[in-house]
Subunit: 155 residues, 3 copies
Amino acid sequence: MAKATQLINNEVFRAYATYAAIVLLKMMLMSLITAYFRITRKAFVNPEDTASFGKGESAKKYLRTDPDVERVRRGHLNDLENIVPFVGIGLLYALSGPELSSALLHFRIFTGARILHTFAYLIPLPQPGRGLSWAVGYAVTFSMAYNVLKATWLL
Amino acid sequence: MAKATQLINNEVFRAYATYAAIVLLKMMLMSLITAYFRITRKAFVNPEDTASFGKGESAKKYLRTDPDVERVRRGHLNDLENIVPFVGIGLLYALSGPELSSALLHFRIFTGARILHTFAYLIPLPQPGRGLSWAVGYAVTFSMAYNVLKATWLL
Amino acid sequence: MAKATQLINNEVFRAYATYAAIVLLKMMLMSLITAYFRITRKAFVNPEDTASFGKGESAKKYLRTDPDVERVRRGHLNDLENIVPFVGIGLLYALSGPELSSALLHFRIFTGARILHTFAYLIPLPQPGRGLSWAVGYAVTFSMAYNVLKATWLL
């Protein structure tokens, strides 16, 4: 049996690993939703993806943009822009020795906010639903970054 | 001499570091390929990038999209969407104490699949070449996430 | 008081944490700049975002692309393409036991180059300002990746 590193015995690190895996899986889910809409809306971007629909002009009409596909893609890009900083800054935060209760509070609020953001984007909910859920996740990441810089500052 | 942290002596972590560096370098390579196509196809997006081709109308015609450039950019974005979760979840997986043989299996299959995906996208290969290579990388990351959540679960 | 992990006592890791947090915050700032330009230029992409400007046709005219908004978005995507590899490879580099002086040199040059890159993109500065600042950050990440692979190589 391989020896686990000590980090995995640290409760804050375990909480970080759980929530980071959850939000990264949520982000990966956007790829499946994009594929679902591309196939059901018959809206593709690569010529080789439409080959099964026939040759020449009959396949070309499926090379188009679709509002539902574009909406999922914007949600996916927004995830990249926000979940990547959470995963990076969250790791540093988890290693900087916060209280477990503070760490759980940060991780839970961020994860909840991003799940809400996805629903707000895809349904879509009227504003400011999406804007607020985005802002909450942003503020949580900012708060963790402040704690990281306070604990590690070495320029 | 600075003291290396203990992690670097852990074989699973060393394997992770090697493969993570390789796939991140592969992702960075997409920037160079984009630049190559932009220059050879003379297809730019920023007005300041075309200044060396002359002034006014003679430069404006180079502000255009090119199918080859757009194809590389889509491959680059797909890398971001898939390699970022691998790097994040892979780190947690490497720290969760897996067998070296299991870890190597995950890292090798993912890395091979993403290299194939790039060739499938850029050549391009007929489908389902690109789709399958994408799905294999996706499944490997999912399997690592399952192992992370099993080892760390703390909500 | 929760016990901090040992990593946070490692000077190279502390320097990494400081610079990684700074460049990730810089990347997050692009979201705010995008929002600022969307609101001042009245250029939105989601129909629900324009509802406060009125109903039907009067709101529809704000669903448009704006050159300033698109410029910030390109800068944001370029950050994702370059800061993500820095954060990933930089972590592995920091854990591979480099001299503090070498590590600080890498982190400082990268951070300076990316801040310059943002100014060069948004002002915009004439080329090769943006190109050079991009290339410097790219070269620093490449140099760290070389050091990681030299220290960890386990295929």
